[in-house]
């Protein structure tokens, strides 16, 4: 059934577009070139800033959408900052953490109060900690790529998501992210094998809903709290 549906839909499309068959070879070549050209449309000028300016813009935008932000000066201070945040919010100290290399660089074992498990979350997990490969200053958006070192469910299941963001990873726009994942896919050392990440999650603030009388509520299904630890020295 599917195959004939395919021909019917494409056929009726082509007739409606005034053609008997597929686009001619010239047009096809132009369209292919358009697809691989990755030309950018307008990118908002608000991100025309230096690196420090981008981090500042990122922070402002993220706070505007109810994320909270803390700064530390190096990866060494990350476990302390995470512990402090959890205590301050009266949250449990058991955390499920992404098995990624960025987080490996922090001295977690020195913080005996944290009870850490690495890997994907289960339903009962209350707090997740991940790093992110990039963040977009334009709208205070975190970019996360799924893979063995970053189970995508970490971004959604626990009620609290703590994100470690090395300041140098803040980029201007979504387009920068696309360039970067394309470059990664093409890099034989990346392990991406020519592919984009299966899932790219753009996360802008905690989960929210306005479905009951347009009242803004945080924590609809995803995290209620999104806490970003910016590592200034990285």
């Amino acid at each position: 059934m599917s195959e004939s549906n395919r021909e019917t839909v494409l056929g009726s499309l082509r007739r409606a577009l005034g053609r008997d068959g597929p686009v001619d070879e010239d047009t096809a070549a132009k369209l292919r070139a358009r697809m691989v050209g990755h030309a950018r449309n307008t990118v908002p000028a608000r991100t025309d800033l230096d690196a420090a300016g981008l981090v500042e813009l990122f922070e402002t935008m993220a706070q505007k959408v109810h994320a909270t932000v803390a700064h530390v000066s190096s990866m060494d201070d990350v476990p302390g900052a995470v512990g402090e945040y959890l205590r301050g919010e009266n949250l449990p100290s058991e955390i499920v953490m992404a098995p990624d290399a960025t987080l490996d660089a922090a001295p977690w074992s020195e913080n005996a109060l944290l009870d850490i498990r690495r890997g994907a979350p289960v339903e009962s997990d209350q707090v997740s900690v991940t790093s992110v490969p990039a963040a977009v200053a334009e709208t205070g958006t975190l970019a996360m790529y799924s893979g063995p070192d970053h189970p995508a469910t970490l971004n959604f299941i626990p009620e609290t998501h703590v994100v470690v963001l090395p300041a140098g990873r803040v980029v201007k726009s979504y387009e920068d992210i696309w360039d970067s994942i394309r470059a990664q896919a093409a890099d034989p050392d990346s392990g991406r094998d020519g592919q984009l990440p299966r899932t790219v999650n753009f996360v802008t603030g905690p989960s929210r809903s306005g479905d009951i009388e347009q009242t803004l509520l945080l924590g609809a299904h995803g995290p209620r709290r999104l806490h970003i630890v910016i590592v200034d020295g990285e």
């Binding site: 059934m1 599917s2 549906n5 839909v9 494409l10 009726s12 499309l13 409606a16 577009l17 005034g18 053609r19 597929p22 686009v23 047009t27 096809a28 369209l31 292919r32 697809m35 691989v36 950018r40 449309n41 307008t42 908002p44 608000r46 935008m61 505007k64 959408v65 890997g119 994907a120 709208t139 189970p151 995508a152 469910t153 959604f156 299941i157 726009s173 387009e175 696309w178 592919q195 984009l196 299966r198 899932t199 790219v200 999650n201 753009f202 802008t204 603030g205 989960s207 929210r208 306005g210 479905d211 009951i212 009388e213 347009q214 009242t215 509520l217 924590g219 609809a220 299904h221 995803g222």
Partner: protein, 474 residues
């Protein structure tokens, strides 16, 4: 089969206008989306340029839709996903059912999807003994109530919190009657708790797509709650049900459209979650679906291409037109009688259901133009509503009495001398009748008017006759 009551728009509207709770809900939401959009647009100097570019991207894609669909299909296959083509809603239902049966699914978790509503997927699943669980809070609420969405992005905008509480108490029988549940946060907690369990029970997760990317074979969903992500990440099968016009060539094109989407919809700069999915889980992935299926639905859309309604296929379903529509804001979404309410529905529904069924919708507009003013992809909605009226007029679908009246008026309007003579007499007569009060409270041929308002009486002689007799301003 469509479940449409669009034919009864007038009666539907009368019923909804008499619904005081609906009015209370609409009054509460009034201004929320419109002010939000205004602020978001003001905060982005490039907004108008991005609207132009979004329009152009969609136009370009539609002009080459067959090419981009095939390119997209190839990429989905390369990434290990499956593409299914559905000519009709029935095709789509059968494909969904086939996939569900192949994994012996007992439950399907759903992200909010208007295409799913269009295809009546839930009804089909239930009829086949498969539980459909709507996970978007608004959709969940209306599913509990056995209702349909009244808005394409805010499905429960027609309800008050009191009604939500009532539905929760009726359905969540474990609730302690003494538990306070009247405020939105407690209602949300209750829904979160219930749905949380369900995320882990379903074998299949189903979402729509805000965009499909031809260059990568990816689907994009945009949500605020995160329910769409949980629905598509946890079950072992992910089905994306999307209509053919959702496609754009590149991620850059998608970025442009994403920049206008949330701003136009809710006034957010960006929604909480924008998720790009490409194929099933990969080797070594700790989570993600084992199977990734895309169903490309036509259901009448390709028939709009090459007609005066082609531009409607640019629609990105942001809901700005209905948020700004004074008719929608008066009658609410259910009056429209089918999946797509408001101005976009008034153009799209006649295209998908036929003008015989949905002919009222394009007529129920004052052509105030606010919809076109805010449409992120600049769809000329009033113009297309008028195009539908022209089709109805040509097919003699408009009411006979109206046609006779219009015909008589047009006959006169084309004959200035006769027109001036006749109207001159009429106005003097009306002026005489209304002289004492300056207005008329009832007039047999103008009941639609005088049922609700006075008719100001004419001043007396017409301007033209006074001018001709030499009268000039002092």
């Amino acid at each position: 089969m469509s479940g449409s009551t669009t034919r009864n728009f007038k009666a539907n509207a009368a019923r909804e206008l008499a619904n005081d709770t609906l009015r209370a809900a609409l009054t509460k939401s009034k201004g929320h989306f419109t002010d939000g959009r205004t602020t978001a647009a003001e905060n982005l100097p490039e907004f108008e340029a991005l609207r132009d570019q979004s329009r152009d991207i969609k136009n370009h894609t539609i002009e080459n839709l067959d090419f981009y669909l095939e390119a997209y299909e190839e990429k989905v296959r390369e990434s290990g996903g499956h593409v299914h083509w559905a000519r009709t809603a029935e095709d789509a239902r059968q494909i969904v059912l086939g996939i569900c049966r192949s994994v012996d699914a007992k439950a399907v978790n759903k992200g909010k999807s208007m295409i799913s509503e269009e295809c009546e997927i839930n009804e089909m699943l239930e009829a086949n003994g498969i539980r459909a669980v709507e996970t978007d809070l608004g959709e969940y609420i209306i599913q509990l109530r056995g209702e349909k969405p009244s808005h394409i992005i805010a499905p429960a905008v027609h309800l008050t919190k009191g009604q939500v509480e009532e539905s929760f108490r009726a359905n969540h029988t474990h609730l302690d009657p003494d538990r306070v549940l009247e405020e939105p946060p407690t209602l949300l907690d209750e829904a979160r708790t219930i749905l949380r369990k369900k995320y882990f029970e379903a074998e299949v997760g189903m979402t729509g797509a805000n965009l499909l990317i031809a260059e990568t074979g990816s689907s994009i969903i945009v949500t605020n709650e995160g329910n769409g992500d949980l629905s598509q990440l946890i079950p072992k099968v992910h089905i994306v049900l999307a209509s053919v016009e959702k496609i754009v060539p590149t991620l850059e094109d998608a970025s442009t459209i994403l920049r206008v989407l949330a701003r136009s919809a809710t006034g957010q700069e960006f929604s909480s979650y924008t998720t790009l999915s490409t194929g099933p889980k990969r080797e070594g992935d700790p989570d993600g679906p084992e199977q990734y299926h895309v169903i490309l639905l036509d259901n009448g859309r390709t028939d709009m291409i090459g007609t005066e309604f082609q531009e409607m296929l640019r629609c990105i379903r942001c809901g700005a037109c209905m948020n700004h529509c004074p008719v929608y804001q008066s009658v609410g979404g259910h009056a429209y009688g089918w999946v797509y309410p408001g101005p976009m529905g008034s153009v799209l529904s006649p295209g998908l259901l036929g003008v015989d069924e949905a002919g009222h919708l394009p007529n129920a507009s004052t052509f105030c133009g606010r919809c076109e003013e805010v449409c992120p992809v600049r769809i000329p909605l009033p113009k297309m509503m008028r195009n539908w009226r022209e089709q109805e007029f040509e097919k003699h679908l408009s009411p006979g009495t109206a046609r006779v009246g219009l015909g008589l008026w047009a006959f006169m309007a084309k004959r200035p001398k006769l027109y001036q003579l006749a109207t001159g007499l009429q106005m003097r007569l009306l002026a005489r009748i209304g002289h004492a009060k300056g207005r008329l409270s009832s007039l047999p041929l103008a009941k639609g008017w005088t049922k609700y308002r006075e008719l100001p009486a004419p001043e007396g002689r017409t301007f033209q006759s006074r001018w001709k007799s030499g009268e000039r301003p002092l």
